[in-house]
């Protein structure tokens, strides 16, 4: 894992990244990455979903609210969706959501979307490495994170 200069500011801090992976492609891709022993940072927490089309804005925001430093959503490549078009609907939704969250001031590198097929174990490892690097560079999430007031 490449060392990151930002670490100086947040000594010992490791980002937590919630990864919503579709059951049919990306989750299998992650599995393959594991079986093939491709190394990638241990910062992701995988949530297996039936389809990237299942991932609503609610889920992504809930992850951020609960303190995730980054969110990764990955599904089948266009044309490969188990449900034919779930990922294509999702693509539109993510396009709007990503642009919208940037608009209100959420760092673009907090939220990532990806296509990973079941055979792309190596790519999955690369993807997670890249996403982790980018989220790390941003430091801990502060926006949209729910905190309870001190009493």
């Amino acid at each position: 894992m490449a060392s990151n200069k930002k670490d100086k500011n947040n000594v010992g801090w490791q980002p937590k990244i919630v990864a919503f992976l579709c059951n049919w492609c990306s989750y299998a891709g992650a599995d393959l990455a594991g079986i093939s022993r491709f190394q990638y940072p241990p910062n992701i927490r995988v949530v297996r979903v039936p389809c990237s089309g299942r991932v609503s804005a609610n889920l992504i925001l809930d992850a951020l609210k609960s303190g995730a430093d980054g969110v990764l959503v990955s599904g089948c490549h266009p044309g490969d969706c188990h449900y034919i078009s779930g990922n294509l609907y999702a693509r539109r939704r993510f396009a709007i959501l990503k642009s919208f969250l940037e608009f209100i001031g959420i760092e673009p590198d907090r939220i990532h979307f990806a296509w990973i097929s079941a055979s792309e174990g190596e790519q999955f490892a690369k993807l997670v490495t890249e996403v982790t690097k980018r989220v790390k560079a941003l430091g801990p999430a502060t926006k949209l994170v729910k905190r309870l007031p001190e009493v």
């Binding site: 303190g67 729910k146 905190r147 309870l148 007031p149 009493v151």
Partner: protein, 358 residues
């Protein structure tokens, strides 16, 4: 206790004195254009804009309700770590110095102040509310003009009313200053600290006469008003409940909570738990009988599932259920709901309709 007089120019000094010792709030212009309760601190600009409030008729956007019934109020805290010794053990969070005044509201209108007297009734045994009542000191300002949505006299209030206030300022007709009337016992104790002699003088007889005459006038105005609470108490419950006009009132209602949340005397709440990581708290937050979920059972059954039932409940609570239970109507006539209702439901029309029910 003898009333004092303060010159207009000295209001600023007084506010500086008070805000040194207490968290002091005053209706101020916000960047949204309206006036609302904001704290007085170093950044506060005491310009003509600031002081125009004391000569205007505009009410602050929010009532003083949030100070006494905050949104939200933390009722309890608890440790949500199952391994901890005190896991899931609720702990109450009540103020450590419940008797110490720490906040001053400056410029409370009589209608808003009177809402406290009404809210005291249901919250009689509520420690959170009662502690805030003791910690907050109210300095009011009587109204010399009325806005088109004001109707405090209807509900038994008065533009010069002192209910709920510790101190009231009465603007003088010549616009030179204000007569300070001390109302509560605790205001006498605090008199020298918050209205120090160097900024105040004894009110002259003519000034006192002016205010007395004004009070007399308002008293006779109040007398000429029908006693809403008494009249409504005499109405038969099911007759007002089944009155046909509710359908018309409810038609345009969009069931938002704007009226209830801005209302100084709407006090319905919900209780919910929040957990973040291993810390948790139980909060009480504003709820509104306008929302369908307000009455919905876990089974899905909803006693007030129809819009008309919810709209009717809000008004009947104010004008029938509350008077039947506590005496007065639960409305102070501030007119916020009329002003802010997105679909112009006018509570005064509802009152007229209610009074017309045989």
């Amino acid at each position: 206790m003898e009333p004092l007089k303060i010159d207009k120019e000295n209001l600023k000094d007084i506010l500086q004195v008070i805000s040194k010792d207490y968290k002091t709030f005053c209706p101020q212009k916000t960047d949204k254009g309206f006036r609302d309760w904001r704290i007085i601190n170093r950044d506060t600009e005491f310009d003509s804009e600031f002081f125009s409030y004391f000569d205007e008729v505009t009410l602050p956007k929010s009532s003083i309700k949030p100070f006494f019934f905050p949104q939200p109020e933390t009722l309890l805290t608890f440790n949500y770590d199952p391994k901890a010794e005190d896991a899931f053990l609720p702990k109450q969070c009540l103020d450590k110095e419940p008797d110490k005044i720490d906040t001053v509201l400056f410029g409370v209108r009589p209608c808003d102040a009177r809402s406290l007297i009404l809210n005291d009734m249901p919250f009689k045994d509520d420690p959170y509310y009662n502690i805030r009542r003791k910690k907050i000191f109210l300095i009011g300002i009587s109204c010399t003009k009325q806005s088109s949505t004001c109707f405090c006299l209807w509900t038994g209030g008065s533009p010069l009313g002192t209910d709920g206030l510790d101190i009231i300022l009465h603007p003088l007709d010549d616009e030179t200053g204000y007569v300070i009337e001390f109302i509560s016992k605790r205001s006498e104790e605090l008199k020298d600290t918050i209205f120090p002699e160097k900024f105040c003088s004894k009110a002259s007889q003519s000034e006192l006469d002016e205010i007395a005459a004004r009070k007399e006038k308002s008293k006779s105005a109040l007398k000429s008003m029908p006693n809403l609470a008494e009249q409504l108490k005499q109405k038969e419950l099911m007759a007002v409940y089944n009155a046909p006009f509710w359908q018309d009132v409810a038609m345009s209602c969009i069931n938002c909570g704007a009226c209830t949340f801005l209302c100084p005397t709407c006090y319905c709440f919900d209780i919910q738990d929040e957990v973040v990581k291993k810390r948790g708290r139980r909060i009480r937050y504003w709820d509104s009988c306008m929302f369908p979920l307000f009455t919905q059972h876990a089974s899905g059954h909803n006693p007030r599932g129809d819009k008309v039932k919810r709209v009717r409940n809000r008004f009947l609570h104010k004008f029938k259920y509350f008077p039947d239970r506590f005496g007065p109507v639960s409305c102070v006539g501030c007119g916020r709901c009329i002003k802010e209702c997105p679909v112009n439901i006018d509570i005064r029309e509802v009152i007229r309709n209610l009074l017309a029910v045989k």
